[in-house]
Symmetry: C2
DNA sequence: ATTTTCGTTGACCGGTTGGTCAGGTTGTGG
DNA sequence: CCACAACCTGACCAACCGGTCAACGAAAAT
């Protein structure tokens, strides 16, 4: 035991800090570059430049381009799954689905790059996250379908197909991230303001919740 | 004038046929490869192999990779604009928007690759079709917004924001093409059957038309 | 029959990419 | 103070990419 154990707490490893900080720097840069150029169009050199590190340093922390990409995609998947909490423990569909729309719209606004990387990955046939789709996502989906079906059986909402409701929720919320450039262009080249984001959320909730007979 | 003008009608140019056929072959292969690999990940060699032609032959018909890509994207844009006809001359929102959903879902099913190429292009900041967004698409959008606003003013539907309704229509219909792989995975690895496509269209129309108070 | 145009293609090239590596620096534990 | 481990990086390389080109065959025009 060291004479002063506090040291290892006060300075929990400067080496570890460096590693964590650089990995964060690289992952943030990679997320942006992968989103803007796609996996094939992204180059390690560009990611390195954006992270402010030499290219060789990237390969010190991430063995291959594919490893780095896999980490970026997994990171987004985690954020997505966290939004599931909004869905649970809701007393009624309006509250649960409304909160889910809010959460997904917040993710679209705060992690637009991540959403695009996910979309690209799926569009290209999910070569690196196919197992996630077949396990975690499938389980999550079936769980929510069961919840929605319960609401329908209890007469709390219209008898729509829960599966297609989920697809519509995913599509309409992620659209604000994935097609953000198109939306911005149609908004006179300006990004949506705070007020416009709030209006988007309100419009979506109004249409969807009324559409499923939850309000 | 040739002695027998019929020849030029009976054989309207074998050369022209060859050109048209090869361009079609290349464009179809390119659409698929660009959709599956993205612009950066696609290679002229792969497109050539899929078209069954030598790579040098591609460059005889299309000067550069970017020219070929531009042609593919434009092609999709045309198909999209044609679906606009479903929207027009409709007596009421349920008919017009319902027909538009049907048309867009049919495109998602028959041109999934094209939809993905478009999505990729927009996600990457629309580097080659920005002018289309700022002219044709913006005009089209404003025109439909005016139509929807008229319906609202006439009390034929709920007073929702027409812009966000359009975004929801685009997002929810294109989702079945762009995220087709994810949907297929969640459908036990099977593509949607005729019946399932019909159910998807019916579910979408039910939710959206009820959501905007059109039924 | 001959010239010309169009279509075809293998071989080639400069530039770029992902990845490697040897040799260096910095911080840490003993 | 020393030895070891973690971190850093310029220089380099084999592989691959988009694109070029000269040579050739086939059809069409003259």
């Amino acid at each position: 035991m060291p004479p002063d154990a506090q040291i290892s707490r006060i300075k929990p490893g400067r080496r570890t800090d460096i590693r964590r900080e650089n990995e964060r720097l690289i992952l943030d840069a990679a997320e942006r570059v992968f989103a803007e150029a796609g996996f094939g169009g992204a180059t390690m050199q560009l990611i390195a430049d954006m992270a402010g590190l030499p290219k060789a340093n990237l390969h010190y922390y991430f063995a291959t381009k594919e490893d780095l990409y896999r980490r970026v995609v997994s990171q987004i998947f985690e954020i997505w799954l966290d939004a599931a909490a909004s869905f649970d423990n809701a007393p009624d569909p309006a509250t649960g689905i409304g909160a889910y729309i809010d959460a997904k719209m917040d993710i679209s606004r705060r992690h637009p790059h991540g959403s695009k990387v996910w979309a690209s990955e799926v569009m290209h046939g999910a070569p690196v996250i196919q197992d996630y789709l077949e396990t975690t996502l499938r389980d999550w989906t079936n769980g929510r379908i069961a919840v929605i079906q319960t609401w329908i059986d209890e007469g709390r909402m219209a008898p729509i197909d829960p599966r297609h409701l989920l697809y519509m929720l995913w599509a309409s919320t992620q659209h604000y991230a994935d097609f953000g450039h198109q939306i911005e262009t149609l908004n006179n080249g300006q990004p949506l303001s705070d007020r416009q984001w709030a209006e988007a959320k309100a419009s979506l909730k109004a249409m969807i919740l009324r559409g499923i007979g939850a309000i």
